[in-house]
Structure formats: C-alpha cells, structure tokens
C-alpha cells in the first residue's frame, strides 16, 4: 500500500506538470509573444504597468489586422502570453521555461529590472529565442555580447546628468549654488551617488552636503538640519518612495524648503503624490518617458492610461515602445524566426515610436533619454528633455508661500 501510495503520488505530480502540454500543440496560426512579468512580489506595481503597456501595443497591432508573415502568406494575429516571475531573478528562468515549452512562444518581451532581465536574457540565449529588453543598465548587458537579445534603455550616467543639464538652461540667478546630495545607503545608491559626484566635478558644482542616508529610517531631522545650516538651495535625492515621502514630509514639518528638489527612484510613483498631496508639487522625478512627448501616439497612450487608472505614468511609454520595436521588426522581416527578428533590430532605426526614433547600434543597444518630470496638481509634467511650448520648470517657493 505504501509503495502504491508513493508511486501514485509521484504519478499525480508528474501528470500535473504534463497536463498543460495538451493545450500547446495548436497549429501556428498566430504570432505568439511571451513576457515574463512581475505580477507578484515587490515589483508587481511596475509589472502590472508593463503588462498593460504590452497589451496595448499588441491590441493596437491586432486592430490593424495583425502582421504579415511570409511563411503563412497572410497577416497573422498576435497572441500575447505572460508568466509571473514573482519579482525574483531565480524565478525568471522558470517563467521563461513555461513560456517557451508550454506556451510555445516565438519571441519574447522583457521583464523589468537589471538582475531579472539578466536572468531572462541568459535563458533566452539558452533556448535561442529573441528577447527584446528594456529597463536594464547597458553596462550589465553589453559585456555579455548576447546573440539573442537587444536592449533599449538609457545608461546610468545619462540619467544622473539630467539635473545638471536642466540647471544649465536656467537663468544664472536661479541656478542652484549650494546643492545637497542624499543617496540611500545601498549599492545602487552608492553607485548612482558616485556618478552624481563625478558629474558635479564636470559641471563645477560643489555639494554642500553629500551623505548616504539610512534606508527605512523614521527621522531625517539630522539631515534636514544640516542642509538648513549649510544653506542648501537644491536637493538631489536617490531613495525608495517610503524614504522620499518621509524626507519631504519632514522638510515641510521643519519648514525647510529648497527651490529645486530632484529625486530618482522614490519620487515618480503615484504613491508619492498620494502620500504628500500638494506637498509633492514642484518636486522633480526621474522617468523613462512622458505623455508630453511630441511623438506619435504618446499623448493618446498617456490619456488611455489616465482614463483607466485616473493617474499619470512615466514608464508605460518605454514598455509600449519596447513592444512596438519588436512588432515592427517582425513586420519588417516578415518572419517570427528569432535570428531573423534580431537581425531586423540590430543596426536598424525605428522611427516614430511613442519614445521617438529609436536607433540600435551593431551590438543591439539603443540609448534613449531619461526624463525629468515635475509634479504639478497630481500630474507628471515633462521638464527634460524640454519640448517647444512645453511645461516650464517652476521653482518651489517657501512652504508658507505655496498656494
């Protein structure tokens, strides 16, 4: 009995894993695109935005009748399938296995973040499936010389240089003279802080305070007092949303305001606005994209998102454009063969995406511009790159003079 129970249990377990295969043996009458997505775990909020963006891009392509594939001699509809990577780099490969072996996808769109995308790119390399990546630092991807992926993002230096470029466009009297730098005490914070310090030298800017801050701290009074006593007139901060919210809230409580406050990582999510309300106005946030871009479809995409979720977003365009590039590469080559599609990306330019014109180099890397957006009445207003007739940067008045 024991033996039979044991064997039955093993058979049941094996059957459970085998069953999904039955659904996967369909004839190739569609273009199957898979994406490992962080549907659960700490990156789930970004993952759901990414999922939404990919779905919009595919729905828009399907609305035009799909994509012509030479082998089928007709336009084929695109089927998009997702697998949850649980925000865990070790689970990305599991998600890729499911997409490739159960869902039988032809091509892949990326997940979100450096270590997750590295795991995804390596899995794609193993199974020789093309993996179109966004949101991964080029310095992680480029040295690997991967043959089945292409990357579409900005580099850390480009992202960190944005405030210095903005300051150069400001009238001399308004330019920050005594900026302070606060970066979270993490590898990312240290790395990004180091880049900011190097750039400060390049732009001949001297920080009156440049200190790491403890992540998850409840009291930033010491930092605020130090900035106050040193007459800081700008703050560059790199930290997670909770810490960024705490800092700005305590700055208000201690009546310390700077005309220019620019954040990375922690100031762009909508929870920053929800937590701080009007106190979030004037704060700048990094971003991947803006609905204020003059590129085809950018505004409509932003409006579609706002209509559905009643908030603005600065990342959906990057994800949407990632899918746009992949779909256009399929269209251009008329094939769903991974090698052919990659060849249709590498060294090519894709004009008129929601992210603008995107040009890939011979290695498959396309660098785009990081944005800076100012919070204003609950919306991200594009400050950088500046657009003709676009939003003009507003310097923050003292707290008691804000309406």
């Amino acid at each position: 009995m024991k033996k039979r129970a044991l064997l039955s249990a093993m058979a049941a377990a094996a059957a459970a894993a085998l069953l999904p295969a039955a659904a996967s043996a369909a004839a190739p009458t569609e273009i199957r695109i898979g994406a490992p997505i962080s549907l659960t775990g700490q990156l789930a909020a970004d993952g759901l935005d990414q999922k939404w963006s990919y779905e919009q891009a595919v729905a828009d392509a399907n609305a035009k009748g799909g994509i012509f594939i030479k082998a089928a001699n007709k336009k084929l509809p695109i089927k998009l399938v997702f697998a949850d990577d649980q925000s865990d780099p070790a689970k990305v490969t599991d998600a890729m296995e499911r997409l490739i072996k159960i869902e039988k996808v032809d091509l892949l769109l990326s997940t979100h973040g450096g270590d997750l995308n590295m795991a995804g790119a390596l899995a794609a390399e193993k199974y020789k499936k093309f993996y179109m990546i966004t949101t991964m630092w080029p310095h992680m991807w480029t040295p690997k010389k991967l043959k089945y992926s292409a990357l579409f993002f900005f580099d850390a230096g480009g992202g960190a240089e944005v405030p210095f470029k903005i300051w150069q466009t400001m009238p001399e009297k308004d330019r920050p003279k005594k900026p302070a730098l606060v970066v979270e005490d993490s590898p990312d914070g240290q790395g990004f802080g180091g880049v900011l310090k190097d750039l400060a030298k390049k732009y001949k800017v001297e920080f009156v305070m440049a200190e790491p801050w403890a992540m998850g701290a409840k009291d930033y009074s010491a930092y605020i007092l130090k900035m106050k006593s040193r007459g800081a007139d700008a703050v560059l901060l790199f930290g997670n949303p909770v810490d960024a919210i705490t800092l700005v809230r305590q700055m208000k409580e201690q009546n310390f305001s700077v005309p220019y406050l620019h954040g990375w990582k922690g100031t762009w999510p909508y929870e920053f606005r929800e937590a701080l309300g009007e106190a979030s106005d004037y704060v700048l946030a990094d971003g991947f994209w803006s609905m204020d871009y003059p590129y085809p479809g950018a505004k409509a995409l932003g409006e579609r998102y706002t209509k559905q979720y009643n908030k603005s977003n600065t990342s959906i365009g990057m994800f949407y454009a990632n899918a746009q590039v992949l779909l256009r590469a399929v269209e251009n080559t008329g094939s769903i063969d991974s090698k052919a599609v990659r060849n249709a990306v590498v060294g090519k330019e894709f004009k008129g995406t929601v992210q603008g014109d995107v040009k890939f180099d011979a290695a498959g890397l396309a660098l785009v511009t990081s944005t800076a957006n100012q919070w204003w009445k609950g919306r991200h207003m594009l400050v950088y790159p500046a657009q003709p007739g676009g939003w003009q940067l507003k310097l923050a008045p003292p707290w008691d003079q804000r309406k």
Binding site: M1, K2, K3, A5, L6, L7, A9, M10, A12, A13, A14, A16, A17, L18, P20, A21, L39, T40, F82, A83, D84, Q86, S87, D88, P89, A90, K91, T93, D94, E97, R98, K101, I102, G114, D115, M118, A119, L122, A123, E125, K126, W137, M140, K144, S186, P187, D188, G191
Partner: protein, 336 residues
C-alpha cells in the same frame, strides 16, 4: 520484507526517472524542467531533513548555504576558468558544496555551542541576512545587488542538468538513509530526542550537531551550485531568497520530517502544486502557497508518510517539527 519491497520500488522509480530522457521529446518538455526542479528541491529538503528532521536543530539558513554554493560556482567560473570549459565541472560542484560546508562549520560552532531551539533558529536566520547583505555590499567582487553571471553559451540541452540533479537527489537520499542506519544516525536521533540523555550516554552532542549542520550545508551548497549551472547567473535577490529555506521545510513537513522518503514525496508534490498554481493561477499563486502551508501545518504536521501509521494507531517517530515547540525547546535549552 517490507523494507526490501520499498527499496526495490525506490530503485525502480530512480531507473524510470533515469530513462525519462529516452522518451522522444521528453528533454524539451516542460515536465522535464519540473523534474529537474524537483531534484534540486529534494537535495535541499534532505539537507534540512538531516539537520532538523533527524537532529532536531531547526535551521533557517539553508538558503544562505544554497546562495554560497551558487556564488562559489559562478565566481570561480567567471574568475578562473575558460568560459567554454567550465560547463558542469564536477570539481567546481564539489568545491561549491565544500565552501558551503565550511561556512556551516564556521557559523555552526558558535551557534550550536551556545544556542538551541528557537534561539538557534533565529541565529541561523541572522546568518542568512549577514550573507545576503555581505553579497549586496560586496561591490565588484560579488556584483552587488545585480549579482554575477556567466556565459550561457555552452548550454545545449537540459539533459546534463537533469542527470546531475537526479544523481544528487539520489545521492542525498541514500546518504541520509545510510547515515540513519549508522551509529552517527543513532547519535543524531538521540540528540533530537533528548540531548541531555544523549550526552550522558557518551554522545559528543556538539560534534554530532556540527557534523549534521555541515553535511546539511554541503548538500544545500551542491543544490545552489547545480541551480547556478542552470540559470548561469546569481544575485542576492534570486539565491538568498528565503523561499529556498521555507519551501524545503514545507516539503519535509508535508512528506514526513525525519524520514528518508518524506522529503522526496514532499518535493514531488509541493513542486507540482507550486508549478500548477503558477501556470493556471498566475498572480494568485502566493495565496495558494500560503493556504497550503497553513493546511499542511493544521492537518498534516507529521507528514504523509506517517498518516498511515497514525491511522493504524501506532505511535509515529517523533521529529523536531512534530514536537510541541515548548517541549523541544525546553529540553534543548537545558542542554545548552
């Protein structure tokens, strides 16, 4: 006779699993990956089974040893080896297990000599955090939070991973079975049941606890190395994730903690449940996992293998997980 039948059945199951790659299309099937994952889980579950199930020391550090094994593999492969020549280097696999065992000895000595029960468990949890933070803050040496990766170019098929995984799973299970039939196993179980009585009977309690902890670390390190060979990259988020400790615990408890085949059954079932939930209920699987953990603890705290014995009214062998926390802890604290 019953024992012989069981061994013959187990040998037949292993033979069947070894022949799976010969089934046309099997290697490229998702079920093949599922079985590979089961083998990794069996090795990890047996590592915890030895430390907690048989020795009574609840370790919450198996993910740390798993991570140490994985990192050792990738760091050595990327630093010292020609990327085309390291694919499944058995020495590297062994070195990764041994490194994890050394870590287990280094942390096991202060923890096991001073702490027991819940305090020991918390100490091991702290050790896992130290390793994780150390890797995050390791700069270029460990790749920081992004981790380190090696070339996946040598990969052609999952077959070598599968076979090595099967070999390690069988080896880990046989090792546990052999140990438990030896004087060492008797000593470990004596420590689990009553450390004071074991010491009074001449058992060097600390030495045997350390031995079990080091072997457990070695097995977890091997599992980490094998998994690193499969994913080709390691990062604190992926390899120092607490799920590499919690899932094996769940597998042991479900199958039968402190039994040789319990972790094997648990690994097959739990991996199937998690995989199925992931496929059919993406986004909701944490609810399934959480519910299952509660259900197992409520209704099967002694595991599937002991259900029959329990129904027949026989007294099941006591294990650390099945022992009321207070009873076990007090006994072990007295020893400490």
């Amino acid at each position: 006779m019953a024992g012989n039948r069981l061994y013959k059945s187990a040998a037949a199951a292993v033979l069947a699993l070894a022949l799976v790659p010969l089934v046309p299309g099997a290697v490229d099937h998702y079920a093949f990956f599922y079985l590979f994952l089961v083998f990794v889980h069996i090795v990890l579950a047996q590592s915890w089974n030895l430390v907690a199930g048989y020795t009574g020391q609840i370790s919450l550090a198996q993910h740390a040893f798993f991570g140490v094994g994985g990192y050792t593999t990738v760091l050595i492969a990327t630093a010292l080896m020609d990327e085309s020549g390291f694919y499944f280097n058995p020495l590297l696999l062994l070195a990764s297990g041994l490194t994890a065992a050394l870590f287990a000895l280094a942390i096991g000595y202060p923890l096991l000599s001073k702490l027991a029960g819940d305090y020991f468990a918390l100490g091991t949890l702290g050790f896992g955090e130290i390793i994780r933070i150390g890797l995050v803050k390791g700069g270029a040496a460990t790749g920081g939070s992004a981790g380190v990766s090696m070339s996946s170019e040598p990969f052609e098929t999952l077959l070598p991973h599968y076979l090595v995984g099967l070999l390690l799973a069988v080896a880990a299970t046989v090792l546990v079975a052999v140990l438990m039939r030896s004087r060492i196993g008797l000593a470990l179980m004596a420590i689990r049941e009553d450390p004071v009585a074991a010491a009074a009977s001449g058992v060097n309690v600390l030495r045997f606890k350390l031995l079990a902890f080091a072997i457990g670390g070695f097995l977890a390190g091997l599992a980490g190395s094998l998994y690193a060979f499969y994913v080709f990259s390691v990062s604190p988020g992926g390899f120092l994730n607490l799920s590499w400790t919690l899932y094996p615990i769940l597998m042991c408890v479900m199958g039968g903690n402190g039994t040789v085949l319990g972790p094997v059954i648990g690994a097959f079932l739990m991996t199937a449940v998690f995989t199925a939930a992931n496929i059919w209920l993406p986004g909701a699987h944490p609810i399934i996992s959480g519910g299952l953990i509660i259900a197992v603890m409520l209704f099967m705290p002694e595991g599937i293998l002991r259900l029959k014995a329990k129904r027949a009214g026989r007294q099941p062998a006591k294990s650390a997980a099945a022992t009321p926390p207070g009873e076990s802890s007090n006994m072990q604290r007295r020893q400490a």
